[in-house]
């Protein structure tokens, strides 16, 4: 009884089993959740990026719009970088900057695993056949571009610094006076913290601080840093999700305050 299958596990000389997989567990739940969460985030982020409103209310700025680099940014929303883009940019200023965090996440080793499995089904699950007839992985355009992940990582660090400054500025009150703290302060602080954890646990960060070394003993400080980043790296997936939710919730909070839907509650 020769197998009639030619692709995948039905290749000649292998055990002839017609089922694409024999898994009995609910292996499809994880990719399904990933699709639902990521599609929801993409829809929300796209809507907010194009909305071009309700992204700033002193002292809070949405992470989707920071740094606000165009002259069209609402008064007070631009950070220490000012408005170098000028007046010619008339559409949403979020579109100027979102390529960097988007690129960082799109080329992230963890997210790659997630979307290759859940969106591209390559493979949809371990030992579950993929539907594609040919496969070249990350050897050709456009996927060979995943190798620029480290550049997005370094760009992401700049954003982390700017968003940390935004969180510090949130210790002001609505009149611009220092020494106050609100729920918004906590939201922006949490967002910046999650983003730092996500960035510092990055595989490219791990490589840059010491992973490329062959002799740790000659570089004790870098070895120490590599050890620390390696510890964080074990939780990279967790930080990837937490920081994604963090950014969306921080934006939602700022939008809610800026639109007047809720009031930013001050502790002092």
């Amino acid at each position: 009884m020769a197998t009639s299958l030619e692709h995948g596990t039905g290749a000649p000389a292998r055990a002839s089993i017609k089922e694409k997989h024999l898994r009995t567990d609910r292996w499809w739940i994880q990719p399904l959740i990933s699709v639902v969460v990521l599609v929801s985030f993409i829809i929300y982020a796209t809507w907010r990026a194009f909305e071009n409103a309700y992204y700033y209310t002193e002292p809070l700025i949405s992470p989707f719009y920071s740094p606000c680099l165009a002259q069209s940014c609402v008064d007070g929303s631009s950070s220490i970088l000012g408005q170098p883009i000028g007046a010619w940019w008339t559409i949403s200023p979020a579109l100027l900057i979102l390529i960097f965090p988007l690129g960082f996440r799109m080329t992230c080793y963890y997210y790659r695993k997630t979307y290759y499995r859940s969106f591209w089904m390559s493979p949809p699950g371990c030992a579950v056949s993929e539907p594609h007839k040919s496969y070249s992985g990350e050897t050709k355009f456009p996927l060979i571009g995943q190798n620029i992940h480290r550049y997005f990582f370094f760009a992401g660090l700049v954003f982390n610094v700017l968003l940390t400054i935004d969180a510090i500025l949130a210790f002001k009150n609505a009149d611009g006076q220092w020494g106050h703290m609100s729920v918004g302060t906590l939201v922006l602080l949490a967002n910046a913290t999650f983003l730092w954890m996500y960035s510092l646990s990055c595989h490219s960060c791990r490589h840059a601080v010491g992973g490329r070394l062959k002799h740790f003993s000659k570089h004790p400080f870098r070895y120490k840093m590599w050890t620390g980043v390696s510890r964080l790296n074990a939780h990279h997936a967790k930080f990837a999700w937490v920081s994604l939710f963090g950014v969306a919730l921080a934006d939602l909070y700022v939008r809610s305050v800026a639109s007047g839907a809720i009031t930013n509650l001050y502790f002092f």
Partner: protein
């Protein structure tokens, strides 16, 4: 406290085969390999199964249990419900020889393609001296028992037979990483990993890590670090510039 387990075992050879239903007695504390042996002893004396240590250290009894690559000797029967049907098949990436036994020679061919450890020419065996921190990264990979379940589950070759020539699979990419990270190895294996062993084909979906019975972090600790090292060599102009200016070959 025994019960009768419902077992479906693939029987056949490269000319064809099928899943055959069996009902086999199970006693407390047993593993799937025990049940396969009981099946062989009581109902199917011609059933072919490869096994050796029964302790999860030789990798011989790798198979697929309910569709997941597992060592039969390390899969306890009490992880299944008593009325659950348990399907046991050979590994589906390699040519089958008979029943649960596959021909894993693909892996030995790939092993031979990886250049051996290349110590400094002026050091004789016995004169190697290494700091523990330098060698400990490679030591994780030495835990590999070569069960080849990572090779079996890797979709690059599992789903694409035509990739077997170009892709060495996670076990041997890990071997390359082990040697590239070794403090005394003199060969630069980065371009080799990309161009001759298909590192770029890996899309880091981590199934190799999920099935490893030794819990080696194959993807995070071997394959991704090798990908980053390849980026240094091939795709990062700033690293190239830095190395050119400082005339530094490696760290």
């Amino acid at each position: 406290m025994g019960y009768l387990a419902k077992l479906r075992v693939w029987r056949g050879d490269k000319s064809g085969g099928q899943l055959v239903d069996h009902s086999v007695e199970v006693s407390e504390g047993e593993v799937v390999l025990d049940i396969i042996h009981r099946l062989q002893a009581t109902q199917a004396p011609d059933l072919a199964v490869r096994w050796n240590c029964k302790a999860g250290k030789c990798g011989s009894c790798a198979a697929e249990i309910n569709g997941r690559p597992r060592l039969m000797c390390m899969t306890r029967m009490n992880t299944f419900a008593e009325d659950e049907e348990i399907t046991v098949t050979p590994m589906r990436t390699f040519p089958v020889i008979k029943d649960l036994v596959t021909d894993v020679s693909f892996n030995y061919e790939k092993a031979r393609e990886v250049p051996a450890f290349d110590p400094p020419k002026d050091l004789a065996p016995g004169e190697y001296r290494m700091a523990q921190v330098d060698v400990q990264r490679s030591q994780e990979f030495r835990k590999c028992i070569e069960c080849f379940m990572c090779q079996n589950v890797c979709h690059v070759i599992r789903d694409h037979e035509d990739n077997k020539e170009a892709f060495s699979g996670p076990r041997f990419l890990m071997r390359i990483a082990e040697l590239d990270m070794h403090p005394l190895d003199q060969t630069d294996r980065k371009n080799m990993a990309q161009e001759e062993h298909g590192l770029g084909m890996c899309n880091i979906t981590k199934c190799c890590t999920e099935v490893c019975p030794e819990h080696i972090k194959i993807t995070d600790n071997a394959i991704i670090p090798m990908k980053e090292r390849v980026v240094d060599n091939k795709y990062d102009p700033l690293v190239w510039l830095g190395r050119t200016i400082t005339r530094r070959k490696s760290d």
